[in-house]
Amino acid sequence: MKILVPIKRVPDPALKTKVKDGAIDLTGANWVVNPFDEYAVETALRLLENGEAGARVAGAEIVVVTIGPEDAAQQLRSALATGADRAIRVDAEDKALDAGVVVAALVQIIAAEKPDLVILGKQAVDGDANQVGQMLAGKLGWAQATFAASVELAADQKSVLVGREVDAGVEYKRIGTPGILTVDLRIVSPHSVKNNVTPATFAYPDGPRYASLKGIMAAKKKPMDVKKLSDYGVTTTPVTREVGIELPAARAAGQIVADIPTLVKKLADEAKAI
């Protein structure tokens, strides 16, 4: 079974965002793999291994791909270091990209790679657009299951049963392969991924795995193809345009009120909360 995981680099969400001249200031930014994409890589790894034995199932392959500038190779390396087998970087400047361009490129990569599953993060935490997975499924005409909180690969590897958290509870959907999966935070809970190989009792540590020392050293030797958008015949240009960026207004200082009636009145009149 082959799984393709597209990943995106984002400025470290743990650090403060700086805005300068109407744009996010990225000088000296610390780039990391989009957290939801890390969960996607982790999901792929869990689907294709015996977690208890720590061994990959036969014939499994995980390909990670990113569309971005040269520096983005680092994020691919870190996915390789945790266990992905191969990487593809399609060279492009961030400015030349939007969801439409990314999807156009992915469609061509998928045509060339023919994966059984494409697993993506539900959204990237920089723009929070939440579009690529759904658009990709639409363009390919494949089944999709978004915001997966759990997934079970059927023993015959022909379908996955996906649990999605919805307002009323958990909705289960079975989609056939090839298909598109986008994953939510819960997918990296200890028992969220089942594959009929790892014993059902086995508990993974919470969260995506760390790269081991061996993994880091092995990553250097794993193949990483570098392509251009034109290699895939992509001529699409971005249709979204950034008009401006500003930080939310600073919160006003709190007030201390004399008594409960004043509080109620303020909540009703000023805060319009009740």
Binding site: T27, G207, S212
Partner: protein, 607 residues
Amino acid sequence: MSQPLNYYKADLRDFKFLLFEQFKLQELLGKGIYANWGEDEVNAVLGEVYAWVTKELGPLNGTGDKEGCRLEDGKVITPAGFKEAWKALYAAGWRSLALEEHDGGQGGPFTLHSLAEEMMCGACTSFNMYPALTQGAAEVIQRFGTPEQKERYLAKMYDGTFAGSMCLTESQAGSDVGAATTRAVRRPDGTYSISGTKIFISGGDQDLSPNIIHLVLARTDDAPPGTKGLSLFIVPKVRLDGTPNDVACGGIEHKMGIKASATAILNFGENGNCIGEVVGGVEQKGISQMFLMMNFARIGVGIQGLAVASSAYLNALSYAKDRKQGSSIKQWKDASAPRVSIIEHADVRRMLLDMKARVEGIRALSVKLTTHIDKVRVLGEDNPEAAYHQGQVDLLVPLIKAYGSDQAFQICATAIQTYGGAGYLKDWPVEQYCRDSKIFSIYEGTNHIQAMDLVGRKLGQKGGANVQAFAKDVATFVAANKEHPVLKDQIAILGQAMEALTSTAMRFLQWSSGGKLELVPLAANRYLEMMSETAIGWLLLDAAVIAIAAGEKLAADHPDRAFYEGKRYAAQFYAQNVVATVPMKAQQIGKEDRLPIQISDAAFATI
């Protein structure tokens, strides 16, 4: 049970500056023994180790301190979470960074290993003692063991199946290792029957691994007294055939700090049934075998100090940005002036810059030292060019051990002071850091033993060539930068310190040959401090020269600008406030003050 929280912090930008901008590790990478290593791998390791320690080890620091170790039915129980961390550590492989590939390692630079060690130790000092001592014991067997001994023990000690310990101390043999009386009696099959009691043995018992390989200093019956008669024995807790080896844990100590590191009393051969084998198959080599390891262990202790002090500083820094108290001194007349963060008060800033300069300076000393070790490795021990580097290693080991550990305790105390009352409470990590750090100046040879090693052995080593090479390196730097537009005043201070250091060393020679030997131990600790301050002042100024040049090339709002600016301030502050005291200390030593020797015992107190 307190909430498991990670408090460990490290400034990886500083690590990378030292590696790639100041000490140029990249020149050793990608070829020779480090052919598999490039900057990317080094950076990836730093990032992953940091992520790993802050998640897996950091939360155990406070809970381990609270819970401590306990003894049940003669067995040590480590605090909750330690077993899992032990397993996770060996699965991640961080201990095998610098091990050779045929030992299951990745053959990486020792300098990188040492920075990883700093992070593991800083995140949870007590936990890190177990694997660090295991590695130390394994390296003795690696270096001196017979092929059969290596075959029997090494792989399992490197992969965490077995742990290890170092058993030197006995109740009458602390600093005076040569007073050890643990007995070894030859048996017909070439093994030895071991009997005696060792005390203060870190990791002497634990529940992390099913077996512990103790390295025990003991004396055969026909051996001479003193250190020369000691032999080193491999004594497993459980024999390799699975039978117990008559090693009993007689108790564990209740301590000021590193409470989750078991400090055990070990009784060997209470039933006459403890069997050991002599390392390398040769007797009376114990001290020289241990000595080689001692170099690494002493560097390790200096790094322990650095690790804890560094996190104490970074925690104090973040607290100082947060805590509001008082108003700006500029508005001292206005009672309603807005409250400011304490980082705005001059004295708090002084403490922060003081801690920063010391921490970063000690790290620079440590990275310099480990880079010399890497160069010895790259050149090969027999290469004549390696002699210079090995000489600097030998010279700097007592400095990093003693200055690193003395300063660690002081820096932790300054961190507590920065917090104010909160720092004294268990709610914050700095009081634990302070307690944990006190041991570093005591074990692996007290800091006075280090000072005597420096003045008694290291200064005269190779006819003084090592210390002369050091002085020459400093002089070359001073000469090259004495007109530096920003740093020239501080560079002049460094030059004066170096002169004072050299003249003090000459004085020691005169004392030794002129019947004033008793003055040497009295001045030794101070001399070690002077030499450490000169070395660190030099390295901080060297960093500042690099940082000023690099910073000028950057855009005004580039985040690295602030980093480089920090390097300059740290160097200038340390030179003016610390290095400047070196000539005064030299003068003081020159007065041949012997009051502590002259005062009678009775005069110390009336009780």
